[in-house]
Every structure is written in C-alpha cells, then in structure tokens.
C-alpha cells in the first residue's frame, strides 16, 4: 500500500504491536505510581518497554521518557533548553512548522537556509552560532525525505558548546545519532508503532529543565498510555529485525520511481538527491498540474498519496519546505512507502503516471 506522507502515522500498526497493545490493555492499565499489585505490574512492564526502546535506539535507559503528545516534544524540548527566550534560537528553513513557530517565543531567532537539495547551509550555521545558541535541526524531512548531515552539524554546534535539539521523527530508528546532542525527539509512528507515543531523549549531562508548570521536580509530564508505550517498544523491535531487508527493497523501489519519472515525464522537480534521502520517501512536483486533480486521479486508481501544494493542504500557503528548496510548490505529490508495498503496485503506478500527467496538462 502506498500511503500518504503527510503524517507518518498513516502507516498501519505492526501486527505484533497490535497484539501487544491488546494484551497490555488487559495487564498494564494501572497507574505505575500506585503501590498495588497492579501498579507494580504496570511499573515492571513499563521498565521493560523503556529498556527495549533505549536499546533499540542506542540510548541509555535513563536518557529517555515517553510522552503522550508526540507533537509537543520538539517545542517543549526547545523551550526547556538553557536560556531559551533570550539566547539565539537557530533552526533550519525546512523544519516542522511547530519548531519554526518557536521563533515567536525567542527574542532572537535565525533561520538557516537550505540548498536546492535541501541540505542546511553549514557555513551560515557556523557563522551564526554563538556559545549560548540553541539549535534545532531535523535529521530528515517527512515531506521530501531529505537527510541532514547531523554529524557535521553537531561538530559545528559542539565547537561553540551550544545546545542541539534533533527532530528524528521522520528518520525514526534509521537515525544515526552523532556523538554530540542535547535532546532528541522520536515518534513511534516512524517504526509502525501506534500514534500517541513519542520518545523524548535528554543526553546524560546535558542541561535542560522542564518548562511546563510543575510543583515536584519532574523531567517530563508523564501523561502517556502504558499499553501504547509497550506496543511502541514491540513495534520497534520488529521493525529493526526487518530493517536491512526492507530498507534495501524500498530504496530500490524509490530509485525506480525517480528514474522512470525523469525518463518519461518532462518539467518535473524531484526533491533531494538519491544519496541523501530516506529510502521510503519521494516528493515530485509536476509543472502546470493541479495537485488536487492529481491526487484525485491517483485515488481513483487505488493510490493514496499526499501533497504539499496549497490547493490540497487546505491552507493558503504552499509547503514551506518546497519553497525553501526553490522547488515548484504546485502539482506536488508525496509517496511514502510502507514495508508491505508490493513491487507490482509500483509497476502499476509507473505505468499510469505519465498518462495521468499528460491528460491533466491538456485539460
């Protein structure tokens, strides 16, 4: 199934995670803070999930927290960084809108432009950095799949002893963490886990304080569902076990799409280059084509794709990501392949696409 890329959560829940979820609703519903048999059982299950996720993501158990509102992790992580508000806040031009929105809460903010392939301008970042800066960068972009060179970015940030938040929601378990970082944001949907579970990571020794109202010293809100957290851990274990095979297959399918579209359709912008994009995402923009009509035409053929074009995204503004990369914002479609996609589906899509584009251009 080719699923929409607007939300990574549109990929189906892993069947094993679904089973864990159902079992966990029976077993681990109690509040782990309660001193009761069920509370202790919930605490045990939760500890297992925490250990499993930390191991899978290459983090220490004490570094991670589950959050029930994944979309809030990046804004709160940035908000709680030392000196946020008065310290320089630096972010990439293709970050998620909730991260860019944090500039309204900062007295000095700096947007770092990207090149036509979507890569952060490292030179500009280096020039902009100051010792107390707070930097927010995504490891990869959910719309285009463009991967940032987080290793080089981290090197520039550590040279200034600044704070680095990385949004790893699009990469999920594909994220290779650099040796330096301060906070990380993951969303279980990236590894076919349930929606409504995020993972916030705070590196040991990094300075950060919970900016949300609290009277007791708490690091995170602790408002999450235990069954969802257990299912997220289970999904991640299964996702990682199949990752090498799946990623190689998806990468070759995305390559097929990229090459076929380039060869058969004129006037098309393909976001990013094949070397630095996620193996499962591709974003295509066709000149003189209405995205609304394109999405509808594909829907009729059984393909569900998303679009960053304003006429489809129910917003007046076109995708800020495509705009920042200097790419065409209309006629856009995003393909986000799930593990269960069949080669035959791509063959069918590629056979149909040139005809659909040509017909839409004639209308």
């Amino acid at each position: 199934m080719i699923t929409a890329g607007k939300y990574e959560g549109q990929h189906p829940l892993h069947p094993k995670a679904r089973q864990i979820l159902l079992d966990a609703f029976d077993q681990g519903w109690a509040d782990p803070a309660q001193i009761s048999a069920q509370g202790r059982q919930a605490q045990g299950l939760l500890l297992q999930a925490r250990e499993s996720i930390a191991t899978s993501l290459g983090l220490q158990v004490g570094e991670i927290e589950f959050w029930g509102e994944p979309e809030l992790i990046s804004p709160v992580a940035i908000w709680g960084a030392p000196g946020f508000g008065s310290a320089p806040f630096i972010y990439g031009a293709t970050e998620r809108s909730e991260i860019i929105g944090m500039r309204a809460k900062s007295k000095q903010s700096f947007e770092i432009s990207v090149d036509p392939d979507g890569a952060i301008d490292l030179e500009l970042l280096t020039q902009t950095l100051q010792p107390n800066s707070i930097v927010a960068i995504q490891s990869a972009n959910i719309e285009t799949g463009v991967i940032q060179d987080v290793k080089a970015i981290a090197k520039a940030v550590v040279a200034q002893n600044a704070h680095l938040h990385i949004d790893a929601t699009a990469s999920g378990a594909r994220f290779v963490k650099p040796s330096f970082w301060s906070t990380l944001h993951f969303d279980a949907r990236a590894w076919n886990g349930p929606s409504g579970v995020g993972v916030f990571a705070l590196k040991n020794g990094a300075r950060w304080s919970n900016p949300l109202p609290h009277t007791k010293p708490t690091r995170a809100p602790n408002s999450f569902s235990i069954p969802l957290a257990l299912a997220a851990a289970g999904a991640l274990e299964h996702w990682i076990a199949d990752e090498a095979t799946n990623s190689a297959r998806l990468k070759s399918l995305i390559e097929r799409i990229r090459n076929h579209v380039k060869q058969t359709i004129s006037d098309v912008d393909i976001a990013g280059n094949a070397q630095s994009t996620l193996p499962n995402i591709i974003s295509l923009s066709f000149l003189n084509v209405s995205s609304e009509q394109l999405v509808a035409a594909l829907e009729v053929e059984g393909f569900s794709v998303a679009s960053g074009s304003a006429c489809v995204a129910s917003a007046l503004e076109p995708s800020h990501v495509l705009k920042a990369m200097g790419l065409l914002t209309h006629g856009n479609m995003r393909i986000n392949l799930n593990h269960d996609v069949q080669d035959g589906e791509i063959t069918k899509l590629l056979a149909l696409l040139p005809g659909i584009i040509s017909k839409l251009r004639e209308d």
Binding site: D267, D269, L287, A310, E317, P318
Partner: protein, 70 residues
Amino acid sequence: MATELDCRGKRCPLPIIELSKKIKESELGQEVLLISDDPATAADLSAWARMTGNQVKVVSEDNFLITKNT
C-alpha cells in the same frame, strides 16, 4: 509593451498554467505582466523560470514581468 495577464483571485496552479499558455502563444522577447495575488505564485514563478528558461522580474508583491526567452 507588455501584455497584461490578470490572475487576481485565481488560486494555484491557475496563474502559472495561464502564464504558460500565454507565453506559448507569444513571440520571443515579448513581455507579459502577470498580476497574481496567490501566495504560491512568487515561489512557483522562480521554479517555472528555472524549468522553462524564461525570465521573471518581480515588479511588486503582486506584479511580475515575464520575458519570453525560449
């Protein structure tokens, strides 16, 4: 003298589609003044110019002077 193409009130991708048609009918070197208040037009015009080889000059927020080069 530039030909005027008033696309005010039309949403993306109509201004670009209508401009493409107009440019196709135009002679080399001819100028078209596109008037468009759609927020996607400015970004899409630079991508359009890059893809088609024509020239775009931003006159004001809603006014764009296009010269047919190809």
